[in-house]
Amino acid sequence: MNTLRELRVGHRAIVASIETGTIVGQRLLALGIVPGTRLSVTKVAPLGDPIAIEFNGCHVSLRRDEAEGVFIKEETGSAL
């Protein structure tokens, strides 16, 4: 399955599952990135990492390594 790490800027996806058992996974769940949440990648930092995502109207930045624990189903079409 694809992870958030691979989602390109401007693309949307639906969260399928989160890798649990890690502090990052727990933090993402607490922030509301639960299965079924729609999110999109809005920005990539100048050096390629971290990325910024948008979900439920809020914006969060996370490192690509951390995004690896978010499994997604990509939606077609642009978020913008």
């Binding site: 922030l31 639960v34 299965p35 914006h59 930045s61």
Partner: protein, 738 residues
């Protein structure tokens, strides 16, 4: 009924970026007390609010997203709310501050806190912002669904405060509880199992047992006194109960609570999620690969300029006032030299030693508050993160490290903005390596005296630049070693909210500057003052009275033989009040006596004692003495050298001092007759000053921020590093020279 003897305590909680502290300030005004929880760098902030006639204590708890405590900040929130923090009264009521534009996420925390069984009132903060974004919220229905009062507030324009106070007052009596989730049976079975198996040191209440059940690496579990393997097995067995029920134990809480919150919010928000267009369009520039970096560099340049240059006049003013005070206080004490020196150099000098840092701290925290409150700090961290993360730091290390180029003290204090405890510790420990402005006069003295005359302005400039780069370049690998092998603190993820841009409220900015300033004066100020007195004593004592006589006698003999006149003639000349020659001689004698006093002081004796250690760096005992005496404050080396070479008052541009240094030759040993200040020795000396922590104030502020253990650690590692750097530079340099 209310117990009149026990004051009511209200815990103020909320996600970060909800305007929680701003609301706390509105409710308590200036009736605040600030300190630290002992042993941890977490700010403790209490205030008194008046609900009508009734005075209540408010605790401003650190912002957090979840009760799964993964950092010292979050542990404090959990402990205070569970009544486990020995310093605080148990909390009677919780004021949960939520960002109205983001109800779902904010209410997740509220449900977790309600799960602890605490009564709660919700402040729907930043109400105006949500309205401006076109959100419509049915407050009455929301209060009904949640089962607790929800009060729209706007801390920015003090709106809704009276209603909030009334609601809190009523809540003290009524104890409203949030409609909590009914946990599935399997969860109850699992906590029952934990209670039975974990023994007596485990919490007895269901709520905290659920934290142990749900949280990855729960702090509550870690505290239970039991074999680690056994604990792990018990928790795994408890989690199996959930798995058999089809629940993922490590996601169950979030899934169930978010679903619960979703149900409570049904029909409340009469609008779909509305994106913040304004923030998104600002971000198109500020987070842009090109423009974003340009704006970032511009802003950081401004911050640096402010801390570096704007603080100058204020520092001069403090310096001047302290100097004037020293002179004024010294005059009536002329007859009691010990007391005179204690009052003027020790006490007043000690006050000056910490007051001098206040302008830079205040100016930096003015900008830090603006950057944080506006929402830009998170963007800056986003832009810079990649540069710092490989060595265990993160994007938020940028501002503290940048400020350290002006002075490590405000820089170390600014490291408080770093949420990740490990990165915060590492940033504090490497900040003193960055070349601060107090090193500049030392560089100028030695480069101006030895590099520039021989190699010209270009190489002088290059050396100056290299010295500024050296500490920075070393700080990254050192941080890498620290975070990988030495610091045992757990790291936390770099999941960072990028809050909407908001206009900072100046009241909050000034409040923060004031609190940080007071914190510094009270804690670090006391330490720095005590250290200054101690250092004064080691420089003043033992001071045997015979020294003055001895020095006078040997001086007269020396001068007489130099001038080829008799001792008596010279003595007459020396005591001749009228002649110019007599005045010059007397000045020279005073300087000689001063030099003798420094040599015989405890610090001077230490310098001579340590000479063999600095021998491999090519220092004679005078240079070593200069180095040792500049451990309290590195720039002191200049005035000490002036005294040691009997020149009186000098600064880094004094030709007299430069000549005196250039003329120094080895008096004995294998290098007898050759100059002491060779290029390899000077380069080594520069490296020493670039890397050594010769600053008592920095040690004091590190002790204030992360404790004495780390303060001593940073002093030790930097001193060793500086020594190795100086010796290596000298020894390698000598190979080239010879």
């Amino acid at each position: 009924m209310l117990n009149e003897n026990k004051p009511i305590t209200i815990g103020v909680v909320g996600n970060p970026n909800t305007g929680k502290t701003s609301l706390f300030n509105c409710l308590t005004g200036l009736r605040q007390r600030v300190g630290n929880y002992p042993g941890i760098t977490v700010e403790r902030k209490l205030g008194t609010a008046f609900l009508g006639e009734q005075a209540v204590t408010l605790i401003d708890l650190p912002g957090t997203y979840s009760m799964a405590a993964n950092s010292p900040d979050e542990e404090v929130v959990l402990d205070v709310l569970c009544g486990e923090m020995s310093l605080e009264q148990p909390v009677d009521l919780v004021l949960c501050v939520v960002d109205t534009s983001n109800l779902q996420r904010n209410l997740f925390l509220a449900t977790q806190i309600a799960d602890l069984g605490l009564p709660m009132v919700i402040a729907l903060n930043m109400w105006d912002e949500a309205e401006n974004r076109g959100m419509q919220i049915d407050v009455t229905q929301l209060s009904l669904n949640l089962g607790i009062p929800c009060i729209p507030t706007d801390a920015k324009r003090n709106a809704g405060l009276d209603e909030l106070k009334n609601a809190l007052k009523d809540a003290i009596q009524n104890k409203p509880k949030l409609n909590s989730l009914v946990w599935p049976n399997s969860v109850n079975q699992a906590t029952e199992f934990l209670k039975k198996e974990l023994g007596n040191s485990a919490p007895k209440d269901e709520a905290r047992l659920r934290r142990i059940l749900f949280d990855v690496d729960s702090i509550l579990l870690r505290r239970i006194k039991m074999d680690a393997g056994a604990k792990k097995e018990i928790v795994q067995n408890a989690r199996k109960v959930l798995m058999n029920d089809g629940l993922n134990p490590l996601a169950a809480e979030a899934l169930l609570q978010y679903k619960h919150v979703g149900l409570m919010l049904e029909g409340i928000e009469r609008s779909a999620v509305i994106r913040n267009r304004r923030t998104e369009s600002i971000d198109r520039i500020l987070m842009h690969r090109g423009w974003g970096l340009i704006v970032f560099m511009g802003l950081m340049y401004l911050v640096f300029q402010a801390v570096y240059s704007w603080s100058g006049p204020f520092m001069d003013l403090i310096d001047g006032s302290i100097g004037w005070l020293q002179d004024t206080a010294a005059r009536p004490l002329e007859s009691m030299p010990m007391l005179q020196s204690l009052v003027s150099d020790g006490i007043i000098g000690g006050i000056g030693a910490f007051l001098i840092f206040l302008p830079q701290i205040l100016i930096l925290f003015f900008f830090v508050s603006l950057l944080e409150d506006s929402g830009y700090m998170a963007r800056a961290a986003f832009l810079m993160d990649k540069l710092f993360r490989w060595c265990g730091l993160n994007g938020k290390s940028f501002v503290p490290m940048l400020s350290s180029y002006a002075c490590a003290i405000p820089g170390i204090m600014a490291a408080r903005t770093i949420e990740n405890p490990k990165a915060r510790l590492a940033t504090v420990l490497i900040s003193p390596l960055i070349s601060c402005s107090a090193r500049l006069p030392v560089y100028i003295l030695f480069i101006g005296a030895f590099i520039e005359p021989r190699y010209g302005a270009w190489w002088a400039g290059f050396t100056l630049f290299a010295m500024h780069l050296l500490g920075l370049l070393l700080s990254f690998p050192i941080s890498w070693v620290l975070t990988r092998f030495i610091l045992k603190t757990a790291s936390s993820p770099f999941v960072l909210e990028l809050p909407p841009y908001r206009a900072p409220k100046l009241g909050n900015v000034f409040n923060r500057m004031y609190l940080r300033g007071m914190d510094f004066l009270k804690t670090a100020g006391t330490i720095i003052f005590a250290m200054t007195i101690l250092i004064w004593a080691t420089l003043y004592f033992p001071r045997p009275e015979s020294i003055e006589q001895e020095t006078r006698a040997s001086f007269i003999e020396e001068e007489a033989s130099q001038k080829q006149i008799s001792v008596n003639e010279l003595e007459t000349l020396l005591d001749d009040e009228g002649s110019e020659q007599g005045a010059a001689l007397r000045e020279k004698l005073t300087l000689t006596t001063e030099t003798r006093y420094i040599e015989q002081s405890y610090l001077g004796q230490t310098g001579k004692f340590l000479q063999p250690i600095f021998e491999p760096a090519g220092y004679d005992w005078r240079v070593t003495l200069g180095i040792v005496s500049s451990f309290p404050a590195r720039e002191v080396i200049i005035s000490t050298m002036g005294i040691i070479y009997r020149l009186g008052d000098v600064d880094e541009k004094s030709d007299g001092l430069r000549d005196a240094m250039a003329k120094q030759v080895w008096q004995e040993g294998p290098r007898k007759g050759t100059p002491i200040f060779t290029i390899p020795m000077v380069l080594g000396l520069l490296v020493f000053f670039a890397l050594c922590q010769q600053c008592a104030a920095t040690i004091g502020v590190i002790a204030q921020e992360i404790g004495w253990k780390w303060a001593l650690f940073s002093f030790t590692y930097m001193t060793i590093l500086a020594w190795v750097g100086a010796v290596a530079t000298y020894q390698i340099g000598m190979l080239f020279v010879s």
